[in-house]
C-alpha cells in the first residue's frame, strides 16, 4: 500500500479523454517519476492530485484518506506540497517573507487571525525558515525582493517554501524546465540531499531524462492519458513500449 493510491481515475474534457483508467501507487519514501510525451495527461493527473481538478470517476487516496472534493489548501494541509512548472512565489514579498507564509500555514492551519502579533516576534518560525534557506544556499538573499531574482533562484525558493512545510509528499512539475545545465545539476543534488536527509516521498513529472534517471526509483510512463508501464529506471530505459510512445510508430 503506497502513500498515494490512484485508482481507475478518468477525466474527460468535452470530447477529449484526458485520463483513462489511471492507476498509480507511489510508495512511501521513494522518488517516483511520471514521464510521457506532451499531451500524455501528466499535468491533468497532477491537477487531480492537488484538488485543482476533480476526476470524473475513480479515487485518489493519500495517506489513507481520499483527497477528492477537497480544496487545494486542504490537500496541502494533509501533507502534499506542490512545485509548479513556472515558479509560483509571492513576487511582492521578500525571500524571508516568502518562507514565513508556509511556516504560518503549517503552524496555524488554513486560517488564523494573528492580526496583532508582530512578524518579528515569530523567532521560532524565522529560525526554521533561515535553516531551510541555508539548506538551499539562499540565506544571503533572504532580504531580497523575490520578484527580482533569477528564475533558478525562484525555483529554489519555491522548493524551499514547499520543504519548510515538511510535506509527506512533494509534487514536482518539471522542476528543471528551462534551467541551464549547471542549475539542473544543482537541483538534482539538492533533491538527492533532501531524499537522503528526510522522510519524504517525491513524485516528479519531468521531461529531462537525465534528471529522471538520476533521481527516480520508480517510473510510470503515461501515454494518451493511460499508464503504459511502471517499472524501475533500469527496466524502463530499454522498454520498447516507451520508445514507441516517445518516438511514434516508426520505432
Amino acid at each position: 500500500m503506497g502513500i498515494l493510491e490512484v485508482k481507475d481515475v478518468n477525466k474527460r474534457f468535452g470530447g477529449l479523454q484526458a485520463l483513462g483508467d489511471v492507476n498509480l501507487s507511489v510508495a512511501e519514501n521513494t522518488v517516483h517519476a511520471i514521464i510521457g510525451p506532451n499531451g500524455a495527461g501528466k499535468s491533468t493527473l497532477l491537477n487531480c492530485l492537488v484538488g485543482k481538478l476533480i476526476p470524473d470517476t475513480g479515487s485518489v487516496m493519500f495517506d489513507g484518506q481520499s483527497v477528492l472534493g477537497r480544496t487545494p489548501f486542504e490537500i496541502n494541509q494533509m501533507g502534499i506540497s506542490r512545485v509548479f512548472q513556472t515558479p509560483e512565489i509571492f513576487g511582492d514579498l521578500t525571500v524571508m517573507e516568502n518562507m514565513l507564509i508556509p511556516c504560518f500555514a503549517r503552524r496555524d492551519g488554513s486560517f488564523a487571525l494573528h492580526g496583532i502579533r508582530s512578524v518579528t516576534s515569530e523567532a521560532e518560525l524565522r529560525d526554521q525558515a533561515e535553516q531551510m534557506l541555508e539548506d538551499v544556499n539562499m540565506l544571503d538573499k533572504r532580504n531580497m525582493h523575490s520578484a527580482s531574482m533569477s528564475r533558478g533562484d525562484k525555483r529554489r525558493l519555491e522548493m524551499a517554501m514547499c520543504l519548510v512545510q515538511n510535506p509527506k509528499l512533494l509534487l514536482l512539475d518539471e522542476p528543471t524546465a528551462g534551467m541551464a545545465r549547471a542549475d539542473t545539476n544543482n537541483t538534482i543534488d539538492l533533491l538527492k540531499e533532501i531524499k537522503e536527509t528526510r522522510d519524504i516521498t517525491i513524485a516528479i513529472i519531468e521531461h529531462d531524462m537525465h534528471v529522471v534517471f538520476s533521481l527516480a526509483e520508480r517510473i510510470t510512463v503515461l501515454a494518451q492519458g493511460t499508464p503504459l508501464v511502471e517499472d524501475s529506471p533500469e527496466n524502463i530505459k530499454g522498454h520498447p513500449k516507451v520508445k514507441e510512445a516517445y518516438l511514434g510508430e516508426a520505432a
Binding site: 480544496t71 489548501f73 496541502n76 506540497s81 513576487g91 517573507e97 500555514a105 508582530s118
Partner: protein, 413 residues
C-alpha cells in the same frame, strides 16, 4: 516601542506629534494677513482630516494589502453614521456607545456584503460592492425615508429609518432614555463624552495668531491614532503578510495550505468597521447622517484618497485624505473678492488679468484643480504623495552627500 520596530515607532511618533500640534501646524498664517484664507486649523476641518484619515486607513487595509478594490466602502460609512444617530436618539448623547454601535453595525453589514462580494475578484468584486452601496444609498434616500410611523406622523419614525434627503437628525421629542431629552435652555443636547461636549473648544491667542483646541478634534484624533497604530500592527503581523501574499499570488497561497477566503473576509470586515467608526465619528462631531454619504462618489473619494496618498503605504491614505479635504474646504471658499484683495498691489489692468487667469481654478472651480492634481500626481508620482515625499527626501540626502563629497574632494565617479 508598543511592539513596533524602530522605523514604525518613529513614524507613529511623528504622526502623534503632527496630530497633537495640528492646531498650530494648520494655522501658520496670522489672522490679519491675506494668507489666513489658507489656514485650516479650525475644528470642523481638523475633525474631517482625522475622520477621513480613519476611513482611508481602513480602506487601505483592504485595498493596499489585498489589492481588492471595493467601490462601495461608503456604504459602511453611512451605516456607521445612521447607527450612531439612532444611538443618540434612543439612548443618549454619550459618544462611546454610539461609536460602539457604529462599529458593530457596519461590521455586520461588512460580513454580509463581503461574504457575497468576495466570491468574485477583480472588477467583478468592485462592481458587486458598488451595487450593494448604491442599493443602500437609493433605499436610504427613498423607501427607508418614508413615513413608517402610522397616520399621526408625530413619532420617532415620521421620516423613516434614514430621514432621506434631509438626513437623519435629532429632535427634541427623541426618547433618549439615559439622557436628557432637551437641555435646560430648551435645545437639543449635543454629543458628549461623559459630559465633555464634543463641540467645546478653547482658544489660545499669540500675537496675531489664534489657535483653537477642540474637544471633538482631540477625541477624534485619539481614536485616529489608535486606528493608525492598529493598522501598523496589522501591516506588520502574520495576518497582514498573508493579505499581501493574496495580492501577490493567490494560487500559491492556496497551494501553501491557506484558505484566502476567510483572510479576505476578515480584511473586508476590519476595513468596513474602520469605515463605520469614521461614520460614527462624523455623526458624533456633527449629529446628522445623510444618504449621500453612501453615494458612489463618496466611495470613489476614499479610493482616490488612498491612491493619491500612496496605496499600501501606512501614512499615504491619511495624507491623501487631508489633501482632498483641504481642497474641498479651503480652495472652494476663495472667491473673486479675496483674489482681488490678494493682487491689489498689482496695477489695475494686470490685477484683472491675473485674477481672471486664476479664477477658474479656485472657488467654484475647485473641482478643476482637483482633477488636474489627480492627473499630475498619478503621472509623475505613481506611488502617490508618499513617493513624492521620498523623492524629496532622497534629493535632499543626495545633495548632502554631494556636499560632503566635494568637501572631502573625492574623485568623481
Amino acid at each position: 516601542m508598543f511592539g513596533l520596530n524602530k522605523k514604525d515607532g518613529s513614524l507613529l511618533l511623528l504622526v502623534v506629534a503632527l496630530v497633537v500640534f495640528a492646531p498650530f501646524l494648520l494655522n501658520p498664517f496670522p489672522e490679519s494677513s491675506g494668507w489666513a484664507q489658507f489656514n485650516a486649523g479650525y475644528p470642523d476641518l481638523m475633525q474631517r482630516f482625522v475622520i477621513f484619515g480613519i476611513f482611508a486607513i481602513g480602506f487601505n487595509i483592504l485595498f493596499g494589502l489585498t489589492g481588492y478594490l471595493s467601490f462601495g466602502h461608503a456604504a459602511f460609512l453611512g451605516v456607521g453614521s445612521y447607527a450612531a444617530m439612532w444611538m443618540f436618539k434612543l439612548f443618549g448623547m454619550n459618544v462611546l456607545p454610539a461609536l460602539a454601535l457604529s462599529v458593530v453595525t457596519s461590521g455586520i453589514f461588512a460580513i454580509l456584503i463581503g461574504y457575497v462580494s468576495l466570491r468574485r475578484s477583480g472588477i467583478y468584486f468592485s462592481i458587486l460592492t458598488l451595487a450593494f452601496a448604491m442599493m443602500s444609498y437609493s433605499l436610504a434616500y427613498s423607501v427607508l425615508a418614508t413615513d413608517m410611523d402610522g397616520p399621526d406622523k408625530q413619532g420617532l419614525l415620521q421620516k423613516g429609518l434614514t430621514g432621506g434627503e434631509t438626513g437623519l437628525q435629532l429632535t427634541q421629542s427623541d426618547p433618549r432614555i439615559f439622557g436628557a431629552q432637551t437641555t435646560a435652555d430648551g435645545n437639543i443636547p449635543v454629543p458628549s463624552l461623559f459630559g465633555l461636549e464634543m463641540r467645546s473648544a478653547t482658544e489660545l491667542n499669540v500675537g496675531d495668531w489664534v489657535f483653537t483646541f477642540s474637544a471633538g478634534y482631540y477625541f477624534s484624533a485619539v481614536i485616529m491614532l489608535l486606528a493608525f497604530y492598529l493598522s501598523i500592527r496589522i501591516f506588520r503581523s502574520p495576518f497582514g503578510m498573508v493579505l499581501r501574499s493574496i495580492k501577490s499570488n493567490q494560487q500559491r497561497l492556496n497551494y501553501t495550505g491557506m484558505n484566502p477566503r476567510p483572510y479576505m473576509l476578515a480584511a473586508f470586515v476590519i476595513s468596513g468597521m474602520y469605515a463605520g467608526l469614521a461614520g460614527g465619528l462624523m455623526a458624533a462631531m456633527d449629529p446628522l447622517a445623510g444618504p449621500e454619504r453612501m453615494f458612489w462618489t463618496a466611495s470613489g473619494e476614499v479610493v482616490l484618497m488612498t491612491i493619491l496618498g500612496g496605496v499600501g503605504t501606512l501614512i499615504g491614505p491619511v495624507l491623501g485624505a487631508g489633501a482632498i479635504k483641504y481642497m474641498e474646504n479651503i480652495i472652494s471658499k476663495i472667491n473673486s473678492d479675496i483674489l482681488h484683495s490678494w493682487f491689489a498691489f498689482l496695477p489695475d489692468g494686470l490685477e484683472d488679468i491675473v485674477v481672471t487667469m486664476i479664477y477658474p481654478f479656485i472657488g467654484k472651480g475647485w473641482h478643476l484643480t482637483l482633477g488636474i492634481i489627480f492627473m499630475l500626481v498619478v503621472i509623475f508620482l505613481p506611488g502617490g504623495l508618499v513617493q513624492g515625499g521620498q523623492k524629496l527626501a532622497a534629493m535632499v540626502r543626495r545633495k548632502k552627500t554631494d556636499d560632503t563629497k566635494t568637501a572631502t574632494t573625492e574623485p568623481a565617479e
